[in-house]
């Protein structure tokens, strides 16, 4: 099947700086593709090239198999939901949604019918006569999507559209966006710096850093099997150390961190004596009150609680081990550790499979 959107060897330079450095990817029809990266990594540049507001320095952009490099933005079968939505404040909601249809020269009656249909679809029937500033943030969001979707684009681009919303609404809109995507059955390309938005909604995520794609995969791939140290550090939280490989045993390695903490970890292509970076997620470390409970884990430590970081479901404890290394460990909310306090002795353990290591320089 022809991908809806395909970028091949995309490069964009501004003077001496390379904003996008040889990026290739393809997005299958009807999927939700996210580009995730810190601000300034070049993701907006990619989006603007796809929309046609920037010309790539080299490379090709294909939509449904055909190159669109020579197509101006107003003729491309892609539409964009802007960061601040960019609804037209001088028009009513119905005029906003009907704008693109009017540009296509569609008849008045048909536009009115399509606008009503779109408003029904986004669950806001009957608001057509209202002004843009009479709507709430979430409603504007849905109108901005409807304004694009009435044009039935091949690809819908979304440029951090949830950034301006407050936390509760953002959580709600994540679910809603995914539902809208399924309802419209259109390919969405979504860019964001918020990993939770990308992880919750996407079929495929590309993690971008300094103009390049670090890894493309499903949320699970990125979270459980990061390819690079950047991805391991960027997706989710991690305890990270630098260390040296002491022994290699198949896919597993025995290593020692700079502060002297010994552990078993997973990592490919590493030789004995090589320097490495190790990532262990706080949520993959098991907390226990006795050592017996941890017998199944490759790495076991005893330590003292130095701090409790309460944050509801995401609460953590800081545990200092014998060699003076501090680890962040997720505090289970099952009631077992509700009496835990500073200075308590605890046992912690994690499997070699949960400790990912990469060669470092």
């Amino acid at each position: 099947m022809t991908p809806d959107l395909e970028c091949v060897g995309l490069v964009k330079r501004f003077g001496d700086t390379t904003a996008v450095d040889n990026v290739s990817f393809s997005v299958p029809p009807g999927s939700f593709f996210s580009i995730l990266g810190p601000s300034g990594c070049g993701k907006t540049t990619i989006m603007r090239m796809i929309a046609g507001f920037l010309d790539p320095t080299s490379g090709d952009i294909r939509i449904k198999g055909g190159s669109v490099l020579d197509t101006p933005p107003n003729k491309r079968p892609v539409n964009m939901v802007f960061q601040h939505l960019a609804l037209f404040p001088m028009m009513t909601i119905a005029e906003n949604i009907g704008y693109g249809l009017r540009r296509r020269g569609m008849g008045k009656a048909e536009i009115a019918r399509k606008v009503d249909e779109a408003l029904d679809r986004i669950g806001l029937p009957g608001i057509g006569a209202r002004k843009v500033d009479e709507l709430s943030g979430g409603q504007k969001q849905r109108v901005a999507i409807a304004r694009c979707m009435v044009l039935e684009p091949d690809v819908l681009l979304l440029d951090e559209p949830l950034g301006a919303l407050d936390l509760k609404l953002r959580e709600h809109m994540k679910v809603e966006l995914k539902a809208l995507q399924a309802a419209f059955d259109t390919t969405f390309v979504y860019i964001t710096h918020d990993q939770s938005e990308a992880l919750v909604m996407s079929d495929q995520i590309a993690v971008m850093n300094a103009g390049r794609f670090e890894q493309v995969g499903t949320g699970q791939d990125l979270y459980y099997r990061p390819d690079t140290p950047f991805v391991a550090g960027f997706i989710g939280e991690s305890n990270r150390w630098k260390g040296r490989i002491e022994a290699v045993d198949g896919g597993q390695v025995q290593l020692r961190t700079e502060s002297g903490l010994a552990m078993r970890a997973t990592g490919a292509g590493l030789a004995q004596g090589a320097r490495a970076e190790i990532f262990v997620r706080p949520e993959s470390i098991r907390l226990a009150s006795s050592e017996d409970a941890l017998s199944g884990f490759d790495n076991r430590l005893q330590g003292t609680v130095t701090s409790l970081l309460f944050n509801g479901a995401a609460s953590r404890v800081l545990v200092e081990d014998d060699v003076g290394e501090t680890l962040e460990v997720t505090l289970p909310q099952s009631g077992e550790f509700s009496a835990l306090k500073r200075g308590d002795a605890v046992h912690i353990g994690w499997g070699a499979g949960q400790a990912t290591c990469f060669g470092a320089g």
Partner: protein, 285 residues
Amino acid sequence: MRSQSRIAFYLLLTPLVLWLGLLIVIPHIDMLLISLRERISFGVYDRSLLQYEKALTEPLYLRTFARTAVMSILATAITLIIAFPVAYYIAKMAKGRLQQVLFLLCLIPFYVSELVRTFGWMILLRETGIVSNLLQWTGLADQPVELLYTDATMMVGLVYTSMLFMVVPLVTTLESLDDSVIEAGYDLGGNGFSVLREIIIPHAMPGIVSGCIVVFMLSLGNYLTPTMLGGKDSLWFTEMIYNQFIVRSNWELGAAFGFMLLVLSSVIVWGMLALTGRTLKETMG
């Protein structure tokens, strides 16, 4: 606390009331009274509408009145047409330093007095002036060309004088238009013309209307430019007011002319607002 803030309020209000009262309201009431009297003999005056009757029956007065109105509207329209692309370039296309420099370039001519600027035009356009010489040198004209003292020259002068007052409000409103709104206009299938018509101009409407009002009033009340650049036939209404007050010492008719000008500008500004469906509060606030 409350009485204190009230005192502060009145203190702040005083200069405004004094300014309005002493410089605008009182002189205008006096002008109105002067315009409504008729000189019977030395020092003896009578209430009458004679001045207005004269003003509205004498063809020269009426023609000048109408001509001034039409030419001012035309000057406003031409200024808008020239200033809009300039303002758009400064507000939306120029970035950083260039933007400041361009804005400054618009401002610099206003550092010198209007009189000096108008003389500048005369140096350029007179029979022995630079443009005339240039035309002869390139062979486009075989004898000195007089470019002064026509309606077109006067129009050039009026537009030039008013340009800044149109560019500033336009730049301000256009700058407040988010670039992504324009991009969205293109992204959803609009071309340059439809984006201009449906997005940029509606957004810039407050700036357009307030710029037009200011430029119209400046043109209508301009005295120097029509006098110096305009020809024998380009009599401006302000010149007639000047003539009555200073040359003829006929204050009664001059005051009547002054009031007619005030009524004219009010009516046209009101018409302009009504036409664009805006209120004065929206435009100025």
